[in-house]
């Protein structure tokens, strides 16, 4: 039993689902049958949160999968939201298309800079993040924009079967699409190959530069869609309000089993990671725990994952055991 539990935690493919199940069980026990946790309201709010963080985590997770790190997602969320709100008053579809288009363009441009000049993603996307934020400030003239088309806002948040909304269904659909592409097409195989060993993939004849550019375009599109959906449903967009998505998104991707050394992770795992964080946040507040406890719980889960995934953990433990054994002998 202990062994099986340990395996479920150490096996990276199963881990996101194990952690999610663990979170649900613990919250259910803490709830003690009062029914606040297992309510339709909790599920609905979990899914609303999922729609916000999930798509950003998916984009960031894909970039981590190819051993890069797309810091610019935080900037794209804000920019796409503002573009959609500014251009989508009469036609929401046009605004959404332009917002997502901006995300794709930003991803492709950054991908081109990285691959053509051979630069690291952290530097380029950091500059990209600051530039995108600057563009957002210029477009909005440093003000909060309101979106007068309230029908869209209400429509996006309209409950479907009391559990989902149009917004969360859209986020789920993107995840399903991403999972199908990653599992059933050669694109998925190419992405995993690029992330596992880029040199080997290149030697095998794969155009890894194209894969990198594609991943950053997808990451930009996904983050942009998150920004568009959020701004539409809030009926407002502002250059500052959406900046704090990077840390939760990265946390969700990592809890979702995306390996920071590249080549390991899947959209369904990322979805489980996002759900875990959302369940913790909504679940804890549903059963009346103080609001910021979920930050502490998330932090502890991340510390444990960082510790378990650390490459030198096994070596340190072996060295410590040998040391102790030697001392007992002498």
């Amino acid at each position: 039993m202990m062994n099986r539990a340990a395996n479920a935690l150490l096996n990276p493919t199963a881990r996101p689902f194990t952690i999610m199940a663990g979170a649900i069980v613990v919250l259910a026990l803490m709830d003690r049958g009062t029914g606040y946790f297992f309510s339709l309201g909790t599920v609905f709010s979990v899914m609303q949160l999922f729609a916000t963080i999930g798509l950003v985590a998916l984009g960031l997770g894909l970039s981590i999968l190819v051993r890069e790190f797309d810091l610019s997602v935080a900037g794209i969320v804000g920019l796409a939201g503002c573009i959609a709100v500014m251009t989508g008053v009469s036609s929401p579809w046009l605004g959404a298309a332009l917002g997502v288009g901006a995300g794709v363009v930003s991803g492709v441009v950054q991908g081109l800079i990285m691959t053509r000049l051979g630069l690291s993603s952290v530097g380029v996307t950091l500059g990209g993040l600051l530039t995108l934020q600057g563009i957002t400030y210029v477009l909005t003239e440093n003000k909060t924009l309101s979106y007068p088309n309230m029908a869209v806002a209400l429509g996006l948040n309209e409950p479907i079967a009391s559990l989902l909304s149009v917004r969360s269904v859209a986020a789920l659909a993107v995840f399903v699409l991403a999972a199908m592409v990653m599992t059933y097409t050669h694109i998925g195989r190419d992405v995993i190959a690029t992330g596992s060993d880029r040199r080997a993939a290149r030697v095998a004849g794969l155009n890894t530069n194209r894969v990198i550019i594609g991943v950053f375009a997808a990451s930009g599109a996904s983050a942009a869609l998150a920004g568009v959906l959020l701004s539409y449903s809030l009926g407002a967009a502002s250059p500052i309000a959406l900046a704090d998505v990077l840390a939760p998104a990265a946390a969700a991707a990592i809890v979702g089993g995306v390996s920071v050394v590249g080549g390991r992770g899947s959209p369904m795992g990322i979805a489980a990671g996002v759900l875990t964080l959302c369940i913790l946040r909504s679940g804890l507040s549903a059963i009346g725990v103080e609001p910021h406890v979920h930050d502490i719980v998330t932090g502890m889960i991340l510390i444990v994952i960082a510790f378990l995934d650390a490459p030198d953990l096994a070596r340190r433990i072996t060295a410590w055991r040998l040391d102790r054994a030697e001392r007992e002998v002498s």
């Binding site: 003239e141 990265a250 502490i296």
Partner: protein, 319 residues
């Protein structure tokens, strides 16, 4: 074509690229200097003071970030939160007196980053992941401790951390002291040299008998101490504190480190370079302000310039 001819052509093209990069760097620096000095009012005491203020707070964090980048650990997303949290600790412990409060705040910052550094150093845990974990724990812990309220100080003597001496903001003295101590540790102590070695090649450093884990841990502790100094200065300046105080400092700090020319992959860089990076960014901001650019255009131009400088540096260092 023979292999030798190919090789020499390849080499000369690389040398040519390096000359080009050097030329652009000198040209860029001259352009910034000319642009700044030709701006009316740039050399006025008010503008110089604004410049010094701007670089002091962010500069301390950037000096700390330099140590993390230099040891090959890219960046920490937790330093901004460390700034805020140590500001809160400083304000909360002011009743013990100003100097003890300062020391408690520094010690707090050091402990926060020492734990992260130990995880990264001893087990080679992923630095960005560890820093996000630290960020979550700090935000949650601070909210529980303060109940989400702002903290107002209960003690006296904040003057030694704000105001002016000989017309220069006091914050600048603390910042320059931080730069000086940082650079001395980096180039004149054994552990400082070891940090650079670990960053450039951890395996070679370990083979050469360097305590790599210790070097990384100490680098993180220095980063925590520097962030805590920024936290104390900010707390003294505003007279109150909350967790918003240091928000966004992580990104500005790493931008300053990279603009200064410390390599993102570690092993090459210095505190002085970071001082230059912070100064360049601050000069650009002050000049744009004096020339009457709107706040939003300032953000955009600063972003584009940072992107351009980072590209330029990394092209020069490309393998």
């Amino acid at each position: 074509m023979s292999e030798i001819a190919l090789r020499s052509r390849f080499r000369s093209s690389r040398a040519w690229a390096r000359h080009l990069v050097l030329g652009i760097r000198i040209g860029g620096a001259t352009a910034i200097a000319v642009f700044a000095l030709s701006t009316p009012g740039f050399t006025s005491p008010i503008s110089i003071n604004a410049l010094l203020n701007a670089i002091s707070f962010i500069g301390c964090v950037a000096v700390g970030m330099t140590f993390i980048t230099l040891t090959g650990n890219i960046m920490s997303l937790c330093l901004g939160a460390t700034v805020s949290a140590s500001a809160l600790v400083f304000l909360a412990s002011l009743s013990f007196g100003i100097v003890p409060a300062f020391l408690i705040a520094i010690a707090f910052g050091v402990v926060i980053t020492a734990v992260q550094g130990a995880l990264v150093g001893f087990f080679r845990a992923n630095p960005i992941l560890v820093s996000i974990a630290g960020l979550s724990l700090l935000i949650g812990g601070a909210a529980l401790a303060t109940g989400g309220q702002r903290i107002y100080p209960g003690g006296e003597g904040l003057q030694i951390f704000k105001g002016r001496v000989a017309g220069i903001p006091v914050e600048a003295f603390y910042f320059f002291a931080t730069v000086l101590i940082g650079q001395l540790v980096l180039s004149w102590t054994r552990i400082g040299r070891e940090m650079t070695m670990v960053g450039s090649n951890p395996r070679a450093a370990a083979a050469a008998g360097v305590g790599t884990a210790m070097a990384v841990t100490v680098a993180y502790m220095i980063a925590g101490a520097c962030s805590a100094v920024a936290g104390v200065l900010l707390a003294a300046r505003y007279g109150s504190g909350d967790m918003e105080l240091g928000t966004g400092y992580d990104y500005t700090a790493i931008a300053a480190v990279l603009v200064g020319g410390t390599a993102i992959q570690g092993g090459s860089g210095s505190v002085i370079r970071t001082l230059i990076g912070v100064t360049i960014i601050a000069i650009i901001e002050v000049v744009l302000l004096l020339r009457g650019f709107s706040q939003q255009l300032q953000y955009l131009l600063t972003g584009i310039i940072v992107l351009a400088v980072i590209m330029l540096h990394t092209i020069g260092e490309r393998r």
